[in-house]
Assembly symmetry: C2
Homo-oligomer: 459 residues x 2
């Protein structure tokens, strides 16, 4: 511990005593808020004064910040007790963030079962069911009665994440046969066989590699509280509970919103992001988009002669480009969401193209007509003089808008598909990215159409 300077440094242990007493009376969520506000040194002092089972409850929640750092600074014995006591899934998350050296030191001292669980759970990719699952569930052989099962639950309850579903296994092969809810258990007669009392349908199950969005879809579809994770031989290797799915989905929603806004994924509250982290998360994308957008300047330099001859065309550049960008981000937002909810599959791309083509053409015609009418109107009531070729200019704007809105819709809808096919997150097809892409091509479309329609007159 560092040497503290300043007035209250010698009060630290005393204030930790008081604080620990207060914290013990709080709800876990409030206790966590309080600990989160302390710096590491103080928090460690407080944690050392809390009953171990209380500390375990705090570490069991992902809301506790810097849990890895806290484990590092706690006395080894204390840290080991907490890690042994924690839910396996949370312990695995914390363990992965502990620094390499401490991790090795602690690992050898953990209980063999905890060690095995950690080894298994830390091996799954981040967005898989394996990373969400815990190994603390209740499973009983199909030969048991209701009473034996209830007694078993009472015995092991404390070490299980949820007891609301009991999994029933083949007593020899350990394969999953059925599942029974606690609700159904307490309704059944005590001497009834557990398998007879259970639901007769094969339970919904997932594998460790099922991705988060699919897991969430199953929970919503079947109103689940937990789901068993099975291996290829139909043996239960863990369960995923609804609270973890809820947390994961909330986090994923934040990431998707950020990505869609063109920000690198941030998993901290806005006010806790440091200034430089903020610059990094935003600056990177912003610079990249800027460099992409620089091609608009190149495109315009290419059409330099046309520009000089027909300055009036420049008036509509922002209007045209934003329309392409807007229709693109509309399409992207619809498709990203539909892919996330599994309403669309990769193979649907052809259907989407056909839909977006007709939608884009219609929307483009709408905007085209508004733009066309505006020029005709402004010209004829004398608000602005677009020159002698005003009608051809209006026609150019109409055709450009139809093309560019259609193009925007197609690009916006296809980008998430392309990203997904390339195994990137479709949500990375952010609105700014689509807009930039459409902007650059938009300039080319605009001046090409102008070159055709205005050839021999203005150009």
């Amino acid at each position: 511990m560092k040497n503290h300077t300043g007035d209250c440094s010698h009060d630290l242990p005393k204030s930790a005593d008081i604080l620990a007493k207060q914290i013990r009376k709080m709800r876990f969520a409030d206790a966590i808020d309080t600990v989160n506000k302390l710096d590491i040194d103080q928090a460690v002092l407080v944690l050392k004064r809390l009953p171990i089972h209380f500390s375990i409850e705090l570490f069991d929640r992902p809301e506790l910040q810097k849990s890895a750092k806290l484990i590092e600074f706690l006395p080894t014995k204390h840290a080991i007790s907490i890690l042994n006591g924690m839910s396996a899934d949370e312990a695995a998350d914390v363990f992965q963030e502990i620094d390499e050296r401490t991790r090795q030191r602690l690992f050898s001292q953990l209980q063999p079962t905890t060690r095995a669980e950690l080894k298994k759970l830390t091996s799954y990719p981040e967005d898989s069911a394996g990373a969400l699952m815990t190994t603390e569930f209740i499973a009983v052989p199909s030969t048991w009665t209701i009473e034996t099962t209830l007694n078993h639950i009472r015995e092991v309850e404390e070490t299980r994440e949820t007891v609301y579903t009991v999994y029933i296994l083949n007593p020899i092969s350990n394969q999953l046969l059925s599942a029974i809810s606690l609700r159904r258990l307490i309704l059944a007669k005590s001497d009834e066989n557990i398998l007879d009392a259970a639901q007769h349908m094969k339970p919904i199950s997932i594998t460790a590699s099922t991705d988060h969005e699919e897991v969430a879809r199953l929970f919503r579809r079947h109103d689940l509280l937990s789901v068993p994770v099975i291996d290829k031989d139909n043996r239960v290797i863990g369960i995923v509970t609804v609270d973890d799915v809820f947390d994961a989905m909330t986090e994923e929603m934040s990431e998707d919103t950020h990505k869609f806004g063109g920000v690198g994924a941030i998993d901290k509250p806005y006010m806790q992001i440091s200034f430089f982290e903020m610059l990094k998360k935003r600056g990177g994308w912003l610079c990249l988009l800027f460099m992409g957008e620089m091609f608009t300047a190149s495109a315009m330099q290419y059409f330099e002669k046309e520009l000089e001859k027909a300055i009036v065309l420049t008036l509509f550049i922002p209007l045209i480009m934003s329309s392409g960008g807007n229709s693109g981000s509309q399409a992207t937002s619809l498709i990203i969401r539909a892919l996330a909810l599994r309403e669309l599959k990769l193979g649907d791309w052809w259907k989407i193209i056909r839909r977006e083509l007709s939608t884009g053409l219609s929307l483009g015609s709408m905007l085209g007509l508004i733009g066309f009418s505006r020029i005709i109107l402004w010209q004829n009531i004398g608000i602005y003089n677009y020159g002698e070729h005003w009608f051809l200019i209006a026609l150019t704007i109409f055709c450009t808008l139809v093309s560019i809105v259609t193009f925007g819709s197609l690009i916006g809808s296809m980008l998430p598909f392309i990203l997904k096919a390339m195994r990137f997150d479709p949500a990375s097809a952010s609105a700014p990215f689509v807009a930039t892409f459409v902007d650059v091509t938009g300039i080319v479309i605009y001046f090409s159409i102008a070159a055709i329609i205005l050839a021999g007159t203005l150009l």
Copy 2:
């Protein structure tokens, strides 16, 4: 029923028999998928052949489409049984969509309790906890023992949405005293008093007017499976269960994504939206944005003289405007999400302005430098000739980018606050909306800065 033409019309009742038999063996979610694929006439035939308790299960899930239409077409007695049997919260949702005349006809024939529940539940605003809650929960007086409570659960279980939490009431005032989980119930001794066995902390509760996002935050924060809804006298009027919150949040996330992409909220899967509905949801916003963006043309017409003198300035218009829009949508996406997760309060606006001001200035300087260097570089290695005042042009671009990125960040971050303060959904601050706003002001900023820096030379 309409008169069917075509080959298989006379087979309808027969195929309905077969289908009903198959459906009865399915999981509810699969059964619903099957029913959703039928047209109303067929679906009604099938439903009439299903056991009433099975139909009730189907209607109890929000995934069943056209449930209101189905109720309308079912024989009155059948419809009444289903409505009486459904969870009160789902029945209320369906009931509100039934056409006025049928609703009146059915209402008078419902059980008095169902009638009272429906009346109460249909009175809450759409995004409130009241609209999510159900009135079917288990509450017992604090004088009961564990055994009496368990027996009571066994009796009433079938009519309750969840039995995993039992609410303990003051036997005289009916006020909420505590809550006990089923988990804890089966652990306790059977003759123990229920209040003694319960948790000693005041249970987390909400009121009927708590909004969805706050409800979701509480579920995440305290890992809840259900939460009691209390009135102003601390009496339980209903509960909200985790599956309904999960559904509501998923729906809200879709809406937010769509809004952020500039699409009117759509609550149907992409492929099920009709062509005209799609045009309506997208066309409305797109036209509105287009008309907003037309002000860029007006702004540029205003700077007509400057444009003619310095065509070179037009080259950078897309670049400058998109940078403002991009920084704006970054800020918006961060703030919208932080507001949704309750990480920020309305009162924090001043802190946000200060943060975004410094972030915007830094990001703007980054982009400004890139833009500045590009002009210097292109000029000096001879890729493009920006004319004799190339250095002043580079300076103009630098200053404009700094201003516009800062402006974009400020507008993007403040719009959600302003919307929230005006009681609109902050998520309506869509990326296209922010971009349009920044585009128009961007033109003015650009030409104003140019007018200052280039006065006496190019302009």
